[in-house]
């Protein structure tokens, strides 16, 4: 566990020691900033114009007005490219520089290598999206008011957050990895359960939050984008394990990523309700966001697709590394 944690730390820190992480984060924030501005424009619009689900603009699912549609196409065109940038260096760079053999001969299992690299890149990806949480108060018309009513559920939320902080400390100070994991998972569970109960069951809250716009689509959108991101990252990781060149890895992961983006374009050709449309919907990630996640609907189909492809790709990456060891 300690080795895995060390590897995660190393991989995660690598994003911030080289330019690639900053370039990715900068480009990503410019893109999402542009989309947020489009959404903001529609939320403060005059006259009979606007957007019912602001997250549709943020995640490229809006069809009206036309420039929101164009921005959506841009977003989903760049999305696999951004995930490709994040993953392209992970194994390909090690292969290119010859450090992979050293890593594979180290007392660490192949699956631990893969998991560590995946967790690191997913952590970076999550960090990128965490930066966009700054938009949420506007996207949900959120107003906070200090009430100071502490309840047991509020305490549960506080303890959960505290556990998460401890887990972070354990992680960064290289304390017991299992303890960090336990604290992290317990803290996350407590925070989610406590927060949910505090805001749904308690009549008075510590901080009273009121959202003028339905906030649930924001939660479902972030859930979707995390799972979809995991799938694209796993694909990128798999591709990265096949080749030596980072550029080739990026191009291949972009190509494979587009296999899950382009089917969404086909929906224009098929009659909604037809079997072909159902297939296009199933494989088209942008369509999942346009129809479901950004509107506050969770469909099991995309979730199964994301999780299964992620697991399969991670498994194949492990096999790919094993095959290399066998050569």
């Amino acid at each position: 566990m300690r080795a895995t944690m060390s590897l995660i730390r190393r991989e995660f820190a690598a994003y911030f020691t080289g330019p690639i992480g900053y370039v990715a984060l900068f480009s990503f924030l410019v893109l999402t900033g542009l989309l947020f501005n489009l959404a903001l424009g529609l939320l403060t619009e005059k006259g009979p114009r606007g957007i019912e689900n602001p997250m549709q603009v943020m995640l490229g699912g809006a069809e009206n007005p036309v420039w929101a549609l164009v921005a959506g196409v841009l977003f989903w065109g760049l999305f696999p490219a951004v995930t490709g940038i994040i993953t392209s260096r992970l194994i390909a760079e090690e292969r290119g520089t010859g450090t992979l053999e050293a890593l594979l001969t180290a007392p660490i299992r192949d699956w631990q290598v893969v998991i560590a690299k995946f967790v690191a890149c997913f952590g970076f990806y999550a960090l990128m999206w965490a930066a966009t949480l700054i938009y949420v108060p506007v996207l949900t018309d959120l107003h906070a008011e200090w009430k100071g009513n502490f309840t047991p559920f509020a305490a549960m939320l506080g303890v959960g957050l505290l556990f998460i902080v401890f887990a972070k400390i354990c992680f960064w100070f290289e304390l017991n990895g299992w303890l960090a994991l336990l604290l992290g998972i317990t803290g996350l569970g407590l925070a989610i359960a406590g927060g949910y109960c505090h805001y749904t069951m308690d009549s008075e809250q510590v901080v009273k939050l009121t959202a003028g716009i339905d906030a649930n689509p924001v939660f479902t959108s972030y859930l979707g984008i995390m799972l979809a991101g995991a799938m694209f990252l796993a694909l990128g990781l798999l591709v990265s394990s096949w080749v030596k060149s980072q550029l080739v890895a990026w191009m291949l992961s972009l190509l494979l990523g587009l296999c899950f983006v382009l089917p969404a374009v086909l929906r224009w050709w098929f009659e909604p309700g037809s079997d072909w449309y159902a297939v296009a919907y199933y494989l088209g990630v942008p369509e999942h966001f346009r129809r479901d996640f950004t509107r506050g609907v969770i469909d099991t189909r995309p979730i199964v697709l994301y999780v299964s492809v992620t697991l399969c790709c991670l498994f194949l990456t492990v096999r790919s590394l094993e095959a290399r060891r066998l050569k």
Partner: protein, 866 residues
């Protein structure tokens, strides 16, 4: 230098060849499929039978080549896959590659598992609606109802976009445009929900602006002419529900209604789009009731000209607009003509009660036309004969002396005759003979035409059969047996300034007709009555006292009112005998404008506001009309300013010559909602003498309030200033006397005994309350021509439809106001000052990325120092 690890063996060569062949086969197969797709653009083509036919050249050389490419390429790919699998099997069993094989099998198994899991997920899935207001979830009770619908009787839901929101939003502006886009999205969302219920729902979206619209429409309706007819008749964006040859329609507006007033005022005047959801149940109801019978409406009038048939623009009495509007809304409309013998009538008493269909009435009219033509031919023929006889005599005497001829001519010519004038006389005789012959020819043609028309109508067996039924009561009962709503229209005075119009007595029903109408109401069936003023033209004579005038007036009124009106009075409806005028009307006469080209403007009707202090609920028809008024976009604001004529198209109803109609207070107490639908404005007044006299003596109607000592003071006939109620909606139990004949006698007895003992009267009241009496609905308007038009204007049409829908218990079709449960929809907005907005924009578009860039540069610089 060659790589010694890779020896070129025959096996390697074969593997290379096989793989190259497989790759080529794959390319060929893809090319073939693309070529076939380009030709047929349908996945249906890819069936073994069709492909076989294509290979055999049944679809031409192009398809044959494409099919060969696809077939041979596919076969090559399959062959190579088989070879590879066999090869892997052979290699895999060797010890050297066992580990690699296990890894490969593991990878293949993972991919197979991935495909399997996703196939299961594709068909077995669940959607969870996490939205705050559960926007994407059907209410459980509706979902249960839909679940029961059989897949064997599929329902086709057609979303038909015409990009037109009907007469209410005839002018497209930014609000209607946005409404259309949003409602279309919402309809499609709902349709998606319906798709989840399985194959019993087939959903088709048709857009008239789509390229292949006509083709798609033809394909959809090739076995469903009734659906095609409904689609063609629909005036606006609509959703159709089709099952078992029956069609129901729902306009987009009935699903979500634009509140233009609220839209304009929203967000502190910044405007938004405000839509009022009309409920998913309304949509669902159409699906569930798609096979229900269409409600039937009977329109009763006294003459064929007043019926709903025909839309001759010259016929200003037609109710064709009523038929059009009701038919479009899913009603069947029949006409009943209540009077006959129009051809021979010389006075009102000559008219006979009837219960004719329009066809019968037409038959009667055509027979009359034929009789007239026949009589004309006979008379003209006699005239011709007479002239011919004269000419014969003239021929005989032409050679006689002048004196003799003169004596002959003097028999039929007056004045002095001279021989010089004889040719002129003869020419005149010849001319008159010629004219008479021409007239005969014309009359004969007219007769032939009348015979032809009659023969055509006689082909309708039904009209002849109905005619055989001579008993009016039985016939009317039969006509109304399957009718769901009775509409009685009495078109009398259109404009009091132009005189009394059609005499009210013409509309009076006979006793047996009233009895049938009463029986109809006793079944709880609704009635809509549009009763024009019955005020006769009676002018006070010089020196006549008010009492004498009133006596004369009462005599004149006796013929105008009938038992039908008295029956309404038994239900609490108070029908005024006066006519309501507006101040401008009489002023226009004094200015001379009334008889010129321009007519004076009258103020619009005031639709009843929801009662505030009486505890009564709002009138359902008035409430619906007010809500609809908030939607109407009849002209753009700029047009209104630029063009005065356009201003007339506001969502208002302007009527002249209206009769006060109200509900008696004791009857009002029996119903939960306010009875009044509409009022006249305050600058109106009523009078018994509304018609101006422009003869030798000029008399302009003037407002004269009823004297304080007049017995009419305080009654419904009091002459006073407005506002006046002019329409009521009534819902109460039919009177006890209608269902129990003894009750009337007992009531009279109770009235006699009440001064001595009120117990009997009380017992009678209790008894009446226990009598089983149906609740019946009525709407009465004090105007007979408000729905008279070949095509109704939007305000009149909506008032009619709301009244009819309410009367026939189709409240689900009345517009609904937003409630706490179904709040109004609008685009979400974030209140933010311009400064805050600019800060957010700059901060997110430049600030945050620049912060990251600066951090990155800082790290780079730091690393360089190290």
């Amino acid at each position: 230098m060659a790589d010694t690890r890779q020896r070129t063996t025959w096996g390697n060569r074969f593997r290379f060849l096989a793989r190259a062949l497989g790759l080529l086969g794959l390319l060929a197969a893809i090319s073939g499929v693309v070529l076939l797709w380009a030709q047929f653009r349908s996945a249906d083509f890819f069936t073994p039978e069709r492909l076989r036919a294509a290979v055999e050249g049944a679809n031409g050389q192009y398809v044959q080549v494409a099919a060969y490419l696809a077939g041979i390429g596919g076969a090559a790919v399959l062959l190579i896959i088989l070879i590879e699998m066999l090869s892997s099997l052979v290699t895999g069993v060797g010890r050297r590659t066992a580990a690699g094989t296990v890894a490969t099998i593991g990878a293949v198994a993972a991919v197979v598992l991935l495909v399997f899991v996703n196939l299961i997920s594709f068909t077995h899935y669940k959607r969870v609606d996490c939205t705050r207001d559960k926007r994407f979830t059907l209410p459980p009770e509706l979902a249960a109802e839909f679940g029961k619908l059989r897949a064997s009787a599929p329902t086709t839901i057609v979303v038909h976009q015409t990009h037109n929101f009907g007469p209410l939003m005839s002018t497209r502006d930014s609000f209607t445009k946005a409404t259309e886009a949003e409602v279309t999205t919402k309809v499609r969302d709902l349709v998606e929900l319906f798709r989840e219920f399985g194959p019993q729902f087939k959903v088709v979206v048709l857009d008239t602006e789509a390229f292949e619209y006509r083709k798609d429409l033809e394909e959809l309706t090739k076995d469903a002419p009734e659906l095609l007819a409904a689609i063609k008749a629909a005036p606006e964006n609509s959703i159709f529900f089709h099952a078992n040859k029956r069609v129901q329609r729902l306009a987009f507006n009935e699903f979500m209604q634009l509140d233009k007033t609220a839209s304009e005022e929203a967000d502190g005047g910044r405007a938004n789009l405000v839509l009022v959801p009309q409920g998913i149940d309304r949509f669902a109801q159409r699906v569930l009731t798609v096979q229900e019978r269409r409600p039937k409406v009977a329109v009763c009038v006294v003459h064929e000209l007043l019926t709903t048939a025909g839309d001759d623009p010259r016929n200003r009495y037609t109710l064709a607009g009523v038929r059009k509007s009701l038919t479009t809304q899913g009603f069947d409309v029949v006409d009943v003509v209540l009077k006959k013998n129009w051809n021979n009538a010389r006075s009102l008493s000559d008219l006979k009660p009837a219960a004719d269909t329009r066809e019968e009435s037409k038959l009667e009219r055509l027979e009359g036309d034929l009789d007239d033509a026949d009589a004309l031919v006979t008379s003209v023929r006699a005239e011709v004969r007479q002239f011919e006889v004269i000419r014969g005599f003239v021929d005989k005497v032409k050679d006689r002396p002048w004196e003799e001829r003169k004596a002959f001519y003097q028999q039929f010519v007056r004045g002095t005759l001279t021989e010089a004038k004889e040719p002129e006389l003869l020419a005149m005789l010849a001319s008159r003979l010629k004219r008479a012959r021409e007239k005969l020819e014309e009359a004969a043609k007219a007769k032939q035409e009348a015979e032809k028309n009659l023969a055509e109508v006689m082909q309708d067996e039904r009209a002849l059969q109905d005619r055989r039924m001579s008993n009016v009561s039985t016939k009317l009962t039969k006509q109304l047996a399957d009718v769901d709503l009775l509409i009685i229209v009495r078109h009398t005075t259109e404009d009091a300034m132009k005189g009394p119009g059609i005499e009210a007595g013409l509309h009076a029903l006979s006793k047996e007709q009233v009895k049938v109408a009463k029986e109809f109401m006793k079944q709880g069936k609704p009635v809509l009555a549009c009763l024009g003023p019955i005020t006769p033209q009676v002018a006070s004579q010089p020196g006549e006292s008010p009492e004498d005038f009133d006596k004369r007036l009462v005599t004149e009124f006796a013929g105008a009112s009938d038992d039908f009106e008295r029956m309404l009075t038994e239900r609490g409806v108070e029908l005024g005998s006066t006519v309501i005028l507006f101040e401008g009307e009489t002023k226009a006469i004094t200015r001379g404008g009334q008889f010129g080209n321009t007519q004076s403007e009258v103020p619009p009707l005031l639709i009843a506001e929801p009662p505030t202090d009486s505890g009564l609920q709002p009138n359902p028809v008035a409430a619906a009309f007010r809500l609809t008024g908030r939607t109407a976009v009849l002209e753009s604001d700029s047009d209104r300013l630029a063009n005065d004529a356009a201003a007339k198209r506001k969502f208002e109803i302007r009527l002249r010559a209206i009769r006060p109609v109200s509900l008696a207070p004791n009857w009002q107490a029996k119903q939960p909602f306010a009875a009044e639908i509409a009022f006249t404005s305050a600058d109106s007044w009523n009078t018994f003498q509304p018609y101006p006299q422009m003869g030798r003596t000029v008399r302009i109607p003037t407002y004269t309030p009823t004297d304080i000592n007049d017995p009419k003071k305080g009654t419904r006939d009091e002459e006073r200033k407005g506002p006046f109620p002019i329409a009521v909606a009534v819902e109460n139990k039919v009177p006890a006397t209608w269902v129990n004949e003894d009750y009337e006698r007992q009531e009279a007895t109770a009235a006699l005994l009440t001064p001595y003992d009120s117990t009997f009267a009380m017992g009678l009241t209790v008894g009446a309350s226990k009598l089983e009496r149906p609740t019946q609905r009525m709407v009465v308007f004090g105007n007979g021509n408000m729905f008279t038009a070949p095509k109704l204007d939007p305000p009149e049409e909506k008032l009619l439809l709301h009244s009819v829908n309410w009367l026939t218990n189709r409240e689900d079709r009345l517009p609904r106001a937003a409630t706490e449960k179904t709040p109004e929809w609008h685009y979400p907005r974030v209140a933010m000052s311009d400064r805050d907005r600019i800060l957010w924009q700059g901060g997110t578009l430049f600030g945050l990325p620049l912060l990251v860039a600066a951090l990155g540069l800082f790290v780079m610089l730091l690393r360089r120092i190290r």
